[in-house]
């Protein structure tokens, strides 16, 4: 029991997924979902995953809202770039960002954020040096992008995946 306790969140998420897939809450589907989720968690525990520890739900909520706003903003920006292709001052390029974040879960979330926002693409991460190579569609100033990634995304992630 104690070994399965860390997977309580995963179990609850899998149950919720099952109920969404079935499309209704009935005693039968609840029972089957609970059993399936328990089996899946057990199988996951057998894979011996590293333990990810999540903290600071408030920071996570604020990060989510920030990311939502950024995704909407960059969608509009990239749509503008596609509509007006011949802009002379637009320059695309690569940026290297040294990351302090080493937790695999945090890096995965950072990858999701940077890829979900149009205009930034995750190209390469060197786990030995912790340097991330990004491609940016509208590279006005590298320093701004480095600051954005580090202050806006990496710092909350460091707190969450402490």
């Amino acid at each position: 029991m104690r070994r399965l306790l860390p997977f309580l969140l995963l179990w609850a998420c899998l149950c919720a997924m099952w109920l969404l897939l079935v499309g209704g809450v009935s005693p039968g589907s609840l029972l089957l979902g609970a059993a399936l989720a328990a089996g899946a968690c057990w199988g996951y525990a057998l894979l011996e995953p590293g333990r990810a520890r999540l903290r600071r739900p408030l920071v996570a909520a604020r990060l989510f809202l920030d990311v939502l706003a950024d995704v909407i903003r960059s969608n509009v920006a990239v749509a503008g770039i596609i509509l007006r292709p011949g802009r002379a001052d637009r320059r695309a390029g690569f940026v290297r960002i040294p990351l302090a974040l080493r937790a695999p879960g945090g890096l995965a979330v950072l990858a999701c954020i940077l890829t979900a926002a149009p205009g930034t693409a995750w190209v390469e991460y060197d786990s030995a040096t912790g340097v991330l190579l990004l491609h940016i569609l509208d590279l006005v100033e590298e320093e701004t992008w480095v600051r954005t990634v580090k202050d806006r995304y990496e710092r909350p992630l460091l707190e969450i995946f402490a």
Binding site: M17, L20, L21, G23, V71, I72, N75, V78, A79, I81, I82, L83, P85, R91, A92, G93, F94, V95, R96, I97, P98, A111, C112, L114, T115, A116, A117, P118, G119, T120, A121, W122, V123, E124, D126, A128, T129, V131, L133, H135, L137, E142, E143, W145, V146
Partner: protein
């Protein structure tokens, strides 16, 4: 005729707007896929469809079915979740594959592979500096011993 006629106006109008917005963003993304030059610029284009396009269409679908069946229909969230989780993986893999292939062909427009800090001689100081441009920076002079990225 269709069940859509039972839909009240307060649900039909937002659903119509959301559908149009989502489809327009998807179309823009695909036009970008066609118009932008170079692979690394084109990587950005389909994300319009996978972020705004998917979100708008799924919201419209959730709205329409929830009102039609007069209960919350949320299973579209699963499609959204699948797309959010899988898109970074595919795009990252593709970008890495493209980078690998370009380096194999010694393409000077992509940044060279950084030497492993402990193995190769150069100090770690330039690692922290952001790369100025694709052609500038460490890309110009491939470090010795890095055969994959050595320019001809």
């Amino acid at each position: 005729m269709t069940p859509l006629e039972q839909l009240p106006a307060w649900a039909a109008v937002p659903a119509a707007l959301l559908l149009l917005a989502g489809a327009a963003m998807t179309l823009l993304g695909s036009i970008g896929l066609l118009r932008l030059g170079g692979f690394y610029e084109r990587v950005h284009a389909p994300t319009l469809g996978t972020s705004a396009g998917i979100a708008c269409v799924l919201l419209a679908s959730m709205l329409v079915f929830s009102v039609l069946q007069s209960r919350p229909v949320l299973h579209e969230l699963l499609v959204g979740l699948a797309v959010i989780v899988t898109t970074p993986v595919t795009l990252m893999l593709l970008a890495r594959a493209a980078l690998y292939r370009d380096r194999q062909e010694a393409d000077a427009t992509v940044p060279a592979r950084q030497p492993d800090a402990p193995a190769a001689g150069p100090p770690a100081a330039p690692l922290a500096a952001p790369l100025a441009a694709p052609s500038a920076g460490p890309g110009k002079e491939p470090p010795a011993g890095d055969a994959a990225s050595a320019a001809p």
